[in-house]
Amino acid sequence: MLKRAIIGIVVLGTTFQASAMSGKLLLTGGVSQLEGSGGGGLTPWAFIGSYATRDEYGANFHATEVRTQDYTVKAQGLTVGIKNLVELSYSQQVFYTQEVSSANLGKNDQFGIQQDTIGLKFKVYGDGVLDQQTWIPQISVGVQRKENHEEDLVEALGAEDHIGVDYYVSFSKIILNQSFLYNLTLRSTKANQTGFLGFGGGENDEREIMTEMSFGYLLRHNLVLGMEYRNKPNNLTNFEEEDWKDIYLAWAPTKNISLTTAYVDLGNIAVKDNQSGIYTSLQVGF
């Protein structure tokens, strides 16, 4: 299914390549993070997704796969940038539990927990790319509404709810003088493993503020090497949840295609410890 989606969007991307792409500078719309918002791999940034300038509209498709020792996550979605001010996103993420499905969940090995996320982001201050005369970052606020399709299952695992809303504020800046970029995101959330295991739990059912950070070094005009850290709640009584980390490389060979690959360390996820692996994401814009 992912393969078909990738072929589909590559064909679509080629069609749109004919139209002259102008817009913002390479990679300054970020890539699409796991839940579909413009950002790094794991965390949303204040930059508005797509290359649309203040006079333009833009959009991109993304297809993402994360493979660890015991699990696979596949995600695909659409991110729309409106006048470099508002960002809308929609993303479907499926968490394939593989052998855990039959061993622990009473499902077959093809089973996946699907979650849909609708995102909305507003730029509230600054331009993190052009305002090079100041250290003050671009600031955006956003919301991600997530709906997990496996209500019975996630509640059986100890979650209080299968629907949750995250609110966040992001601070992002490229310091051109140092070829460096940073992002700080503060997220108010109850999500367990971003929502794949539902929202809230026996250990904690209150919103908490999580800190997410990204750094990047511009290796070339179209290549960024960096790392991310995503602090996560620990709400479920029976399963531990750990913070996520990655080291990523984002590459934009052309203005409408970007490829991101990362080594991710996701820690304990449900019954499996020490999950780490490779994150791959293709994004096609028009």
Binding site: A20, S22, G23, K24, L25, T53, R54, D55, E56, N84, V129, L130, D131, Q132, Q133, I175, L176, N177, Q178, S179, F180, F215, Y217, L218, L219, R220, H221, M227, K245, I247
Partner: protein
């Protein structure tokens, strides 16, 4: 991960030690060459050429070279009009500004300017968007 932080710190340490941005960029010779090629590209670019139809290109190039030199800390003084005045009368959108940066990046790449020096110059030019974009 600790190793990465170390590498990044070293890169910053070395960048702080460099003598002069103007020299590192390649001096006046490199600036003049880049400004010449940049002007040719702008005049050939579909999005940009209309802005230069009535321009005195020799004056444009000499003032631009002065400006790059001065912004890089070289021994020049910019004697052209201020940015707001220079762009008045042209209908300049954000997309034109970004296109100009892209063409400049391309020209600097073709002239083997290091990414660090490219970004140092762009960091000086980027804030001018407020006076240049008027649409």
């Amino acid at each position: 991960m600790k190793k990465n932080i170390l590498i990044l710190s070293l890169i910053f340490a070395f960048s702080a030690l460099s003598a002069s941005d103007f020299e590192d960029f390649g001096g006046m010779k490199k600036i003049n060459k880049i400004v010449n090629e940049f002007s040719v590209k702008l005049q050939a670019n579909e999005q940009m050429k209309s802005f230069f139809v009535e321009s005195d290109m020799e004056r444009f190039k000499s003032k631009l070279a002065e400006q790059f030199c001065a912004e890089l800390g070289g021994p020049c003084k910019y004697t052209g009009q201020n940015m707001k005045r220079a762009h008045k009368g042209h209908d300049i959108k954000a997309s034109h500004f970004y296109k100009l940066v892209e063409v400049l990046q391309e020209t600097m790449r073709e002239n083997n300017v290091s990414l660090r020096m490219q970004n140092k110059l762009l960091a000086k030019l980027a804030p001018m968007n407020k006076d240049v974009i008027n649409h």
